[in-house]
């Protein structure tokens, strides 16, 4: 099965009646239930909500990294949980990217090496050229051979953004991408992220606490008390 090209479909994400619960010693905890969400290609979506509402868990489910307790989620027309680990991984490598709050760069690789890595995993022969171009795009052409420890927080997140866009993913999930940065740097990073997203036509799912940041997305959802509600922008 060729997983590198998404199936032609109206929605890149189609979540139907999704629920998630955890078993604890004190009994099951229902994080959320009956969540329905349909996202079209190229849309920018923000998910907000108070701490502990389950935003990150919802993101994991939508990205196919976790299985829902009930309901189904289709990414690019495919239900990931029905695929094998190998197929899921191949799909993830080709179609999904992530940007994390804590950057998560590999410390032993320089900026270029970090951006090249997902391309190399895909077997892309042009990995170095593409990665260099992506780093130029985020304004780090002078930092290609710097290790993460030699970069500032903002620069590290830019490397992470360059890495996320390197494979031209269909879907980009960003979990509080400015959470570890000061306000000024955070704004610059968001600008960069949205700009690249627009030019690549990637679907962006962004988790944030910041209402102002959320307002910059086309659609905004609020998760609270296990319910997901769409707010009008």
């Amino acid at each position: 099965m060729d997983l590198s090209n998404p199936v032609e479909t109206q929605f890149v994400i189609n979540a139907q009646d999704v629920a998630k619960q955890f078993a604890t010693q004190a009994g099951p905890i229902h994080l959320f239930s009956k969540i329905n969400l349909q996202i079209k290609p190229g849309e920018t979506v923000a998910i907000t909500g108070p701490s502990g509402a389950g935003k990150s868990s919802l993101l994991s489910l939508l990205a196919g990294l976790d299985e829902p307790s009930a309901g189904s989620i289709a990414l690019c027309g495919r239900t990931l949980t029905e695929l094998s680990d190998k197929q899921q991984s191949a799909f993830r490598a080709a179609s999904i990217s992530f940007v994390f709050q804590s950057f998560h760069l590999l410390p032993e690789l320089d900026a270029l090496g970090n951006v090249m890595l997902p391309l190399q995993i895909l077997g892309n022969k042009q990995a170095k050229t593409i990665a260099t171009a992506r780093l130029e795009q985020v304004g780090l052409s002078h930092r290609l051979h710097h290790k993460p420890a030699q970069l500032s927080g903002g620069e590290q997140q830019r490397v992470a953004i360059a890495r996320a866009f390197a494979t031209q993913p269909t879907l980009l999930f960003a979990d509080e991408p400015t959470g570890n940065l000061d306000q000024h740097t955070g704004e610059q990073i968001i600008e960069q992220l949205l700009q690249m997203n627009a030019s690549e036509g990637t679907t962006l799912i962004l988790i944030t606490h910041d209402p102002a940041l959320a307002q910059r997305c086309q659609r905004v959802f609020h998760l609270d008390n296990g319910q997901l509600q769409e707010h009008t922008v």
Binding site: D85, S89, R92, F100, E108, Q120
Partner: protein, 820 residues
């Protein structure tokens, strides 16, 4: 795939900056080095020892006697189509104008040896020295300052040294085999005048032929073996593996097992820590698109990378180390030592690879199950380490390697059990001791309360650090003290005028002159006649009818003993039962021997002395001191019992610094005398013991190195908890200095407690070792009581400083926040 390979290589190299990877790598080197070294040494030692078969025996069968062998013996062999040859070996003095040296002389007949070869320098096609020529080992040339072509005097004849003896089979057994060796033709022996009645010589007949014929001959000889004869066959020779070298080999294996065990534990702990810290990274790689198999591949490649480098380093180290160790053992082993089979070098890497794969697979399996979703949570769920499976794998591995080293499943199980029980006991005691000290110091020290709470938190680490270090320190101390005690006390117990020379082979017609020479030098001495004989009857019945099986296997009944007669009991003997009546026929028996054989005063003993039967009642029992360096005898007869029999005489005396002059005087007048310098023998023995001590210390240091690495690993692993705790203390107002003081105080206490326990174990273990094995009066070692705790304290503090260095508070925070 190439990208994954490159990633694995980068990960491997980057891993060297992580303490757990460094510990894993070093532990692997140690494990591989130890295994290869022991395999190679074991192989060479075994090879060397098993050559004591035909090649070293010089024959398929040897008949040895203290008297000339009967011609019928060779006739029997000829009938069976067996080839034969003969050799006479004796310890004698070789001399030049200026110097004397005790050597072992072999006078060989044609065809000697029948198996194996004599190697000479320069090489020679001739099977025996030419008439009037002698082949000598290089030690003789060195010690007498001679060269090839020089002359050497043996008894009454001069010989030309024609060749250096490099190696030869059939070096002989017992005392004679220790001395530097020389070979002459059998025809030349008579002209030296060395072989006289009562001379101590070994006469050997060598046989070689078809196995069946040899077996028949062996049976024939066994059936008609005389009291002075002994049969030496290849299989019996191989039974002699209970020798010092075999024990050294066993010790080698035991230490190797211990090192491997500790290294295995370090590898286990490092892998546990490594996989725990890799969760976040594994999750990230999964989000980048690696599937589980690829992830496992990357990590396995990384670990195999460490293994590969460790295998190279470990094997190279083993190659050099074994050469060094064999140089150390050179004097103890028959030369040349056979080379190692290259296959044995691969054992270490193979074992290391198995260890890494077996211990890491369960952990890697768990690691690959890391959920990528975990990256979205600040508090990452640890995928954990499959502890139970890994303990099982480790246990199985230890059992297998124990079996490999000790050659017995029961023994390795027993050893594991003993080690485990001792470790558990020490762990419990150590942890209790720490709590006790913590309690005692609580109100006495400024940091007492903090120390007390730290001790409570760190209990699980103490249970690992204390027993491992304690057992190793104890082993090192026991090894060192047992050997030094033995040597020191031995020397200390010799009074100033203890005899330092034995004079043997004194003929009856030489006794007056010898006494004269000694008296002129103010040396008063007594010459003891020596008769070779053995006990054959008790109360007129054969021993087989009167003694039990255990008594019959007593060493004194299976060989010829030195018997003597005297007017009075020697001064260094004391009567414990009966009366010494010189005018009555009687024999005085050494008390311990009498006790073991069940002999009582009044029993009638029958002796066979060179074919003559002598019957005499026991008149007394006496004790004696074997370490007095005086001639000592199990049986001393009253005068007139043995007068008719041929004898040579023996004596011992103290020469001290005048040795050279008196030796010359004695040997110039009586060239066939044999003078044994006890100091030289003692020096030889001390060198031998010293070499064994060096070898065992070196090997134990290897184990100690493994233990240090383990302590380092454990100290590093507890660092995280410490840093968190220190960070908390800092926020509560404690200064950085105080936190450091607390760390050092705790480490010093751990070291001190470990040392104290090690002292107790050492003293308790040395007690039976001294009493039973070394037969010394057990004593306490006061120095040990402060040196070991202090040493252990310094060790722990140093290791703590090394493992905790360069970790500032901010660095610790950073480390904790971004462990990827």
């Amino acid at each position: 795939m190439r990208a994954l390979g490159a990633l694995a290589i980068r990960q491997t190299l980057a891993g060297f900056t992580l303490p757990e990877c460094r510990a894993l790598f070093l532990a692997l080197i140690l494990a591989i080095f130890t295994t290869s070294l022991m395999a190679v040494m074991g192989d060479r030692l075994d090879h060397s020892l098993s050559r004591k078969g035909a090649e070293l025996l010089g024959a398929d069968l040897i008949l040895q006697s203290t008297r000339p062998l009967h011609p019928q013996r060779t006739e029997a062999a000829e009938k069976l189509g067996i080839r034969h040859s003969g050799v006479t070996q004796l310890a004698t003095m070789a001399s030049t104008e200026q110097q004397f040296l005790l050597i072992s002389l072999r006078a060989a007949q044609s065809g000697y040896p029948l198996r194996g070869e004599i190697h000479l320098q320069p090489s020679s096609t001739s099977a025996l020295p030419a008439t009037g020529h002698i082949w000598v080992e290089s030690a003789i040339l060195e010690r007498l300052g001679l060269a090839l072509g020089d002359s050497l005097t043996l008894g009454e004849r001069d010989f030309i040294i024609s060749h250096t003896l490099i190696s030869s089979p059939d070096r002989g057994r017992g005392f004679v085999s220790f001395n530097p060796q020389a070979i002459i033709r059998a025809d030349d022996l008579a002209s030296t005048g060395l072989l006289l009645p009562g001379s101590r010589a070994q006469y050997r007949l060598l046989f070689a032929g078809e196995p069946e014929a040899i077996s028949t001959l062996q049976q024939q000889f066994k059936d008609g073996l005389e009291t002075s004869e002994r049969l030496i066959a290849i299989d019996e020779e191989e039974d002699r593996r209970g020798s010092a070298l075999s024990r050294a080999s066993a010790f080698l294996k035991l230490v190797a097992f211990l090192t491997l065990l500790i290294s295995g534990l370090t590898i286990f702990l490092s892998l546990r820590r490594f996989t725990r810290l890799q969760n976040r990274r594994a999750a990230l790689l999964r989000t980048l698109g690696l599937n589980r198999a690829q992830l496992a591949g990357v990590y396995l490649l990384q670990l195999l990378g460490y293994w590969f480098i460790a295998a190279l380093v470990g094997t190279l180290l083993a190659l050099f180390a074994q050469q060094g160790l064999f140089l150390l053992l050179a004097d103890m082993l028959p030369q040349p030592i056979p080379p190692t089979r290259p296959l044995f070098y691969l054992l270490g890497p193979a074992m290391g690879g198995m260890l890494v794969v077996a211990l890491s697979l369960p952990a890697l399996k768990q690691l690959c199950r890391t959920a990528p979703a975990d990256l979205f949570h600040e508090q990452l769920q640890s995928s954990g380490y499959p502890v139970r499976i890994s303990y099982l794998v480790l246990g199985l591995f230890i059992l297998l390697s124990g079996f490999f080293y000790l050659n017995s499943l029961v023994l390795s199980l027993l050893l594991m059990g003993i080690l485990l029980l001792s470790a558990l006991l020490i762990a419990w005691l150590g942890a209790r001791l720490m709590v006790l000290f913590g309690h005692l110091l609580q109100n006495r020290l400024h940091l007492g309360s903090l120390l007390q709470s730290r001790i409570q938190q760190q209990q699980r680490w103490y249970r690992l650090q204390i027993p491992v270090t304690c057992l190793l320190l104890s082993l090192l101390s026991i090894n060192y003290l047992a050997l030094t005690d033995l040597m020191q006390r031995w020397r200390a117990e010799l009074p100033a005028n203890t005899p330092d020379h034995f004079l043997i082979n004194v003929q009856p017609w030489e006794t007056d002159d010898v006494i004269n020479i000694l008296q002129q030098a103010d040396i008063g001495t007594q010459l003891w006649p020596i008769y070779r004989g053995r006990l054959t009857a008790l109360n007129q019945a054969p021993l087989a009818d009167t003694l039990n099986a255990e008594q019959l296997s007593h060493g004194s009944l299976n060989r010829e003993l030195n018997l003597t007669w005297a007017d009075s009991i020697p001064a260094h003997n004391s009567l414990t039962q009966g009366n010494w009546q010189p005018d009555q026929p009687g024999v005085s028996v050494e008390e311990k021997l009498a006790d073991e054989l069940g002999l009582k005063v009044g029993d009638l003993l029958g002796f066979d002395i060179g074919g003559t039967r002598v019957e005499v009642p026991i008149n007394s029992l006496r004790t004696l001191r074997w370490d007095s360096f005086q001639p000592n005898f199990f049986y001393i007869f009253t005068p007139a019992q043995l007068n008719e029999l041929p004898a040579s005489f023996i004596t011992s005396f103290h020469l001290g610094d005048r040795a050279g002059e008196i030796n010359r005087n004695l040997l110039q007048n009586h060239p066939t005398l044999t003078l044994i310098d006890v100091r030289q023998l003692l020096n030889q023995l001390q060198t031998l013991l010293g070499q064994l001590a060096q070898l065992s210390t070196l090997l134990l240091l290897l184990a100690a190195l493994a233990a240090l690495l383990l302590v380092y690993t454990t100290l590093h692993q507890e660092l995280e908890q410490r840093q968190k705790e220190n960070a908390l203390l800092r926020t509560l107002g404690a200064s950085g200095t105080r936190c450091r003081q607390l760390d050092l105080l705790e480490l010093a206490l751990t070291g001190g407690c470990t040392g104290l326990l090690a002292v107790a174990i050492t003293e308790l273990s040395l007690w039976p070792v001294h009493q039973r094995l070394l037969q010394l009066e057990p004593v306490l070692h006061p120095t040990l009581w402060w040196a070991l705790p202090l040493g252990s304290l310094v060790l722990f503090v140093t290791m703590g400083l090394i493992s905790h260095r360069s970790k500032s508070l901010s660095a610790s925070y950073r480390l904790l926040r971004q462990q990827l």
